[in-house]
Amino acid sequence: MNFPILSSLILLPTIGALFLFFTKNKDGNNLTAKYVSLFTTIVNFLISIYLWIYFDQSTSNFQFIEERQWIDGFINYKVGIDGISILFVILTTFITPLCIISVNNSVKTRLRDFLIAILIMESFMIGVFCALDLVVFYLFFEAGLIPMFLIIGIWGGPKRVYSAFKFFLYTLLGSVLMLVAIISIYWITGTTDVIQLYEQGIDTRYQNLLWLAFFSSFAVKTPMWPVHTWLPDAHVEAPTAGSVLLAAILLKMAGYGFIRFSLGLFPVASEIFTPLIYTLSVIAIIFTSLIALMQEDMKKLIAYSSVAHMGFVTLGIFTIQQQGIEGSIIQMISHGLVSAALFLCVGVIYDRMHSRLINSYGGIVAVIPKYSILFMLFTLAALGLPGTTGFIGEFLILMAAFKDNFLVAVIASLGVILGAAYMLWLYKRVVFGKLINVELKKMVDLNRSEYFILTCLAVPTLFFGFYPDPLINTIEISVNDLINMYKTNLINK
């Protein structure tokens, strides 16, 4: 197949954004802008579904590869997907249209510019998951900072400037070291092509430093304790759609990077640094869960829960076992769906009451029952109830962790209990109890678009919770071969 399907997937949102840019910016035109961007992203979603259908699940080779000369004799523009990346691509194309539907209530000014930023963001995010060249990856990885900075800074809450700066500078600081590492890899091996690097490996002498350089970037982006502090700020101040993108997709870039690059390129170093990752992950799980318990702001609570969930992900990845990595990937997908939904849930009541404080709510179950049911579903998914995707991910990760390191697994399991505690407590305080605040009685239940978005997110959460086979089948061989390659490289060196 010669049609550059991945490039069109990457480019299509940008073309949509360009189109929006050249339309007139009138308030009456907002509806058109919304339809255009919705149309673009839905087409993109359909293309990615088409990809999934035609994706060959029986091989771990990269598929739909495109290669083009870019910087002469140095870097080729190369994209392709395997079983691991395709799920993230689909997650991206699935979440973005929902974000665009959700902007109705949360974004009041400059809607067109907001949609442009989201569309460009989508291009970059898809690019990250498709890139098969380190420089191309870095390009997309960093470029995403620009639209996100603007989304937080222009449309964010009262402390938006501080949060936007913190987000930008933290991530940039982490990433520049990765750039040094990428250029060094070029001079060490003579290529930045990921497939070639997989084949030829990197000299053991350099692996530790290179691994640390990549780690500094991914750790900030994941985020891992102790460099997670930008995340709560960014989440709290970002508009709902921004928080959703940030939680659902941006955080996954780092997890994906860990699997694709840290494990794939530096097996020796990964083996050495596994204890470091375990420690940081376990601290993240317990520590941020405890912090989440004490939060009074709902968005902040969910943000801290994200850090804890990503702790599970990093833990699972570095067990370097089939179940662990598969669990991590499913946990990332699940977190993408569930945290997106939770942020949207918070957004729904924020749009009505303009408060995110937990104690300003209580007893709303009688007023808005539909909302309460869906919120309940996502709360349970977040704490990993069997029957939701959250359970599959956490279960697989813990299983692998028990095989590898008993103590770590036990502590991490405590995190599951804490997770249940803060999520249920949040739900209890917001939804149940006595309706003291009379203002709350005026709340209206979910409107059609909100209902639609939350249902869209609920369906896959439940479906893959009961029947995870489609996900597991897609990633199984790729993960398996990744681990085999990891093991052989480890022995050879």
Partner: protein, 472 residues
């Protein structure tokens, strides 16, 4: 006689300057005419340079004191294009601030002539001659708005400090001459062997002089004051054009006569580079005047350019030239934007004046947004690639410290670029600015912004242009 074709650009521009001076004396109110003729002169010089010298490999003239090779032609062309655009976008500024006088374009032309001579120089004396011609014209330009106290102050400061550095430079030249017996670069390079430590003094003095001209830390003190005080159109000229010429001389001076002494000067360049990058990034944070901020930011960018030179390889030189070219394009866009901040015949120069610009002037703001992110070095904009090539060359020589500190200082410098973006996009709006800008201004800002934006689609073209530069 045939060989004189090679210096035809210089000859043509000198005759034009004299002609324009005479014209200016005898014809009244001829400032507009002279301005337009100067543009034509620049354009014709550009064409002559392109036709006569671009295809030539390497030729020397006048007892080897002038060299015409690919690098000199390329740098001359960049200089001329940049000057042309600078002149063309500053006309409305000059008219508004009532300094649209006959001397202005003539001084610019003289300083360009000095730069062309510098770029081609292969001899210490020729190089010094070009440098002084260039500087003398710049002193006058800096104080051009003589009714303003700050402008006079800027000119005086620039003159005194620049004269001092020229003195140091001359002293260095005389030391080098004393030890090698010649002022010609080629002969010096043959005479040297790396054991002559005393010669290092000569090199250091010359480097100090050159570092002053490109405002590298710790010889940068004049830059912020001069940039702030001079008329904006002159600041625009300062930030870009003299740096091209000085960079060329830097390259030729380090790589032709003194390449064997690389151990002696490499540490100096690395220090200049690191100090400029860090200082430029940190000192810019507290600024409130855009021109001052640009001064510090240009100090930082000079640091990155020098990092390429510190490598001692062809790749390093090429990456420096790419860097300065991309920097010029970004600066053109930035200053075109600055020249658009006009309200009631007043130009605004404080960062606060940009507040909420995005609501009233969305297109101007988006250009500034793109350019500022590019200056901060965020992919996929051109500024990222400029830094990318530099650090690629630096890492090839395994200079990890330089690369890591350099990249960390880009993070610091990102802060103040972000601050401007914040003021443009996140803050509350102020009054509208005028919208009736000259066509050239609009053209320049559009063209340079688009170049910055889509550079990543055609990154190879610029590399092809510079890859023929082979000094070593």
């Amino acid at each position: 006689m045939n060989n004189l074709n090679l210096v035809l650009p210089e000859i043509f521009i000198s005759i034009s300057i004299m002609f324009l001076l005479v014209l200016g004396v005898f014809k009244k109110d001829s400032s507009k005419l002279i301005f337009n003729i100067s543009l034509i002169v620049l354009f014709i010089t550009l064409i002559i340079t392109f036709n006569e010298t671009f295809a030539i490999n390497r030729k020397t003239l006048f007892n080897d004191s002038v060299v015409i090779d690919y690098m000199s032609s390329l740098m001359k062309i960049i200089t001329l294009i940049a000057t042309f655009l600078v002149l063309v976008i500053s006309s409305s500024y000059l008219k508004t601030t009532k300094i649209f006088k006959i001397e202005y374009p003539i001084l610019i032309l003289s300083s360009v002539l000095g730069m062309l001579i510098m770029i081609s120089s292969n001899d210490l004396i020729v190089f010094y001659m070009g440098l002084e011609l260039q500087s003398l014209a710049l002193y006058v330009l800096a104080t051009f708005n003589r009714d303003k106290l700050k402008s006079s102050e800027a000119g005086l400061k620039y003159f005194v400090l620049s004269a001092l550095s020229s003195g140091l430079l001359l002293y260095g030249c005389s030391l080098v001459y004393g030890f090698s017996g010649s002022t010609n670069f080629d002969i010096i390079s043959n005479q040297l062997n790396s054991n002559e430590y005393v010669l290092t003094f000569g090199i250091v003095f010359i480097l100090v002089g050159l570092a002053f001209k490109i405002s590298a830390v710790p010889f940068h003190m004049w830059a912020p004051d001069v940039y702030e005080g001079s008329p904006t159109s002159v600041t625009l000229f300062f930030t870009m054009v003299p740096k091209i010429a000085a960079l060329t001389v830097f390259i030729r001076f380090l790589y032709v006569p003194f390449l064997n002494l690389i151990d002696q000067w490499q540490m100096i360049i690395i220090f200049l580079s690191l100090a400029s990058m860090i200082f430029g990034a940190i000192a810019a944070i507290g600024q409130t005047n855009i021109k001052r901020l640009i001064a510090y930011s240009s100090i930082g960018h000079v640091g990155y350019t020098l990092a390429g030179l510190a490598t001692g390889t062809n790749e390093g030189i090429q990456s420096s030239i790419i860097y300065i070219t991309i920097y010029i394009v970004m600066n053109l866009a930035l200053f075109s934007g600055l020249l658009m901040l006009r309200r009631n015949n007043q130009y605004h120069e404080d960062i606060e004046d940009l507040s909420g610009l995005s609501k009233n002037h969305p297109l101007l703001s988006i250009s500034l947004l793109i350019v500022l992110f590019s200056l901060a070095g965020i992919p996929p904009l051109a500024g990222f690639f400029a830094k990318f090539y530099i650090f690629k060359a630096v890492l090839e020589e395994s200079m990890y410290f330089l690369a890591i500190v350099g990249l960390l200082s880009t993070v610091i410098s990102a802060f103040y670029y972000l601050r401007i973006i914040k003021i443009i996009y996140f803050d509350n709006q102020k009054d509208q600015y005028d919208n009736d800008h000259s066509l050239w201004l609009k053209f320049t800002i559009t063209l340079s912004t688009i170049l910055v934006l889509i550079y990543f689609i055609f990154p190879s073209q610029l590399i092809d242009l510079v890859s023929r530069i082979n000094i070593i």
